[in-house]
């Protein structure tokens, strides 16, 4: 019995390892290519360690397009959007879980129903509304059109439901206002869900492509995902510009990796402490 289990364990490990490698392969290819010369990139078989390191790919990329501007645009809009989404979603989730009011379930059903809607169907109405607000081709417009996020509401609502009623009541009789209870009791108690929402929100918004590409026209106002695409489109002769494109792509991905690594550490931490605290 023991032996069979061990073999099964190893088999599983190897399968997972292969799948994992397959998944990170494009990423590795990108990282490696970003420091190779144009000729070496297309050499077969692929070499993991470049013969010579061409870090000037990065400076060339930065010269060829306003990557830093795009990164900055993506970064601040993403941070503001994620922050606002968490803020508003916490408020709604708190009301949905802690207050009794007429039509509470109907409200939640409507919110969920909008989640079923393909996001593409909202582009035209959103575009028209933003147009009326004179926020087309504006990063503020991008932020405003992303203030609410049904998924985050849903995630927080489900998590907030697990807070025992007694704790809310204890806080109320301790003299805390609903505002204080939300931010000092409920949100810290649901740290994992909030971090989850942060991570997912960060990745979704940083990688968001279609909507920003419709909304933003000026080169200076692009977000990194859209900018990167137009950059690779305008570079023409592919094989010679591959290194620069790969360097640009790497620049675009690095912030995501940093965020992921930071939040991952929190994940591990919070699950550790919560298990100790029972």
């Amino acid at each position: 019995m023991k032996k069979v289990q061990k073999i099964q364990g190893w088999a599983l490990f190897i399968i997972l390892l292969i799948i994992g490698l397959l998944m990170v392969y494009p990423m590795i290819w990108m990282l490696v290519s970003s420091v190779k010369s144009a000729n070496e990139i297309l050499n077969q078989p692929l070499q993991l360690i470049p013969r010579s390191f061409h870090f000037d790919n990065f400076t060339n990329a930065l010269k060829a397009a306003p990557f830093m501007q795009w990164l900055w645009n993506s970064a601040w809009t993403t941070v503001v959007i994620v922050f606002m989404q968490l803020f508003f979603s916490s408020l709604i989730a708190y009301a949905l879980t802690q207050f009794k009011f007429m039509g509470r379930n109907v409200l939640f059903a409507i919110i969920l129903a909008t989640y079923m809607l393909p996001s593409a169907t909202t582009y035209i109405p959103s575009y028209v509304i933003l147009g009326k607000m004179h926020l087309i081709n504006s990063l503020i417009g991008l932020v405003i059109s992303n203030l609410a996020n049904v998924f985050v509401i849903f995630l927080l609502r489900q998590s907030f439901m697990s807070v025992p009623k007694g704790i809310i009541e204890a806080a109320r009789s301790d003299g805390a206002s609903e505002w204080t209870i939300l931010w000092q009791i409920v949100v810290p108690m649901n740290k994992n869900a909030v971090l989850n929402a942060t991570l997912i929100g960060f990745i979704t918004n940083f990688n968001g492509y279609l909507w920003p590409s419709l909304l933003l026209n000026d080169t200076k106002k692009q977000v990194i995902s859209v900018g990167l695409n137009s950059f690779s489109n305008t570079q023409g002769a592919f094989d010679q510009t591959f290194p620069i494109i790969m360097a640009g792509t790497t620049i675009a991905v690095v912030p995501l990796i940093i965020v992921y690594v930071i939040l991952q550490k929190y994940f591990v931490q919070s699950s550790k402490t919560s298990s100790i605290k029972g």
């Binding site: 007694g166 704790i167 009541e169 204890a170 109320r172 009789s173 206002s177 009791i185 810290p188 605290k277």
Partner: protein, 354 residues
């Protein structure tokens, strides 16, 4: 004027029958009042209405003569200890205890001082940095108490605060709470379904059943003069023996023996009540009991049996042996008997001639 006045309080949960109906009660400043009653009788509901956590459907709640019905909990000077502790899991013991003061904008230094003092009283000094999840049930319970006492409120509400503790710890905590109450002289309402807690802690017991007050009185009063058969059978371990009396030609019979009452009650149908400790073995007595089992508690020994099919228990101080199915005679102290109306179940004031 009493500190807390409940006037014709009603409570109805959403589309459900009334849990509390026309409830009237006054509570004096400084009293330790215990709400005692079986599970589901509405004790927590009452307490939560006083705390402001539950809406009062109808009626008035006055504290210091001021109407409280629409005041949110934070505007009532009330500290509450919850049935299941309800500690904040993400805060240390110190933060938990200080939270109520922090919410009231008290200076940090003063909060620290008060929390330290309370921790000393409750033996929690070594645990101030710990989180609730790392504490035993008894420690969590004390944190919950500490959170209430640092508030130094006018009124303390405690909802079965000892229900999750083992018997020994419960006895210790009972004493601690009573001592604390004496020190602080704060008005306390304590909810329990454990009559030992009620008897040992209360200045006044309010016995509830189905949301109605059955009796209000000191522990001694409710024990010695139960106002109805519910109280008689609810208070006392084991409870009072109750045997319906027979009635022929204006005379009352306890089984075969005639009872001579001082008072003329006409033909009112009566139930006879006697506490196990006021009954004894007396083989000359006309009342006979068939022994079913003996319960030896160490200090006390109870003989359980059947009197003509009705359960009967007496406390026996002798060292005699009794066999199961043995028939023994039962005597009782005439001054200690109680009578109840068979129909209304209310107490009937009547006495026996010796």
């Amino acid at each position: 004027m009493d500190l807390i006045e409940l006037k014709r309080i009603n409570k109805q949960y959403e589309n459900k029958e009334k849990v509390i109906e026309d409830f009237d009660l006054n509570i004096k400043k400084g009293d330790f009042t215990v709400f005692l009653g079986p599970s589901g009788c509405g004790k927590s509901t009452l307490l939560r209405m006083i705390a402001g956590l539950e809406k009062i459907s109808a009626g008035e709640l006055l504290i210091n003569g001021e109407l409280q019905n629409d005041l949110p909990p934070k505007e009532r000077n009330i500290a509450m200890v919850f049935q299941n502790y309800a500690l904040y899991p993400h805060m240390s013991v110190e933060k938990n205890m200080g939270f109520g003061l922090k919410m009231r904008g008290i200076d940090k230094q003063i909060i620290k001082q008060k929390v330290t003092d309370a921790a000393k009283i409750l033996n929690l000094t070594d645990y101030l940095d710990k989180f609730p999840g790392n504490l035993s049930g008894g420690q969590q319970q004390r944190v919950a108490l500490g959170r209430a006492i640092v508030r130094e409120s006018e009124i303390y509400l405690m909802d079965e605060p000892l229900s999750n503790l083992d018997a020994k710890l419960r006895a210790v905590m009972r004493e601690e709470i009573v001592t604390l109450h004496k020190q602080m002289a704060a008005t306390t309402i304590y909810v329990t379904h454990d009559q030992t807690e009620a008897m040992t802690m209360a200045d006044r017991i309010v016995i509830l059943n189905h949301g109605d007050i059955q009796q209000i009185g000191t522990p001694k009063e409710v024990y010695q003069r139960p106002q109805n058969m519910f109280v008689a059978s609810f208070i006392g371990i084991p409870p009072m023996n109750l045997i319906p009396l027979k009635n022929h030609d204006g005379k009352y019979y306890l089984e075969n023996a005639e009872l001579s009452l001082k008072d003329d009650l006409g033909n009112q149908p009566l139930v006879f009540g006697i506490r196990p400790e006021d009954a004894f073995v007396d083989n000359a007595a006309p009342l006979k009991m068939k022994v079913t089992y003996i319960e030896d508690m160490g200090a006390d020994r109870y003989v359980h049996g059947l009197v003509n099919g009705t359960k009967f228990t007496l406390r026996d101080g002798s060292n005699n042996d009794y066999q199961v199915d043995q028939e023994i005679g039962v005597g009782f102290t005439a001054q200690q008997v109680s009578f109840f109306d068979q129909v209304s179940t209310n107490r009937v004031e009547a006495n026996l001639w010796k």
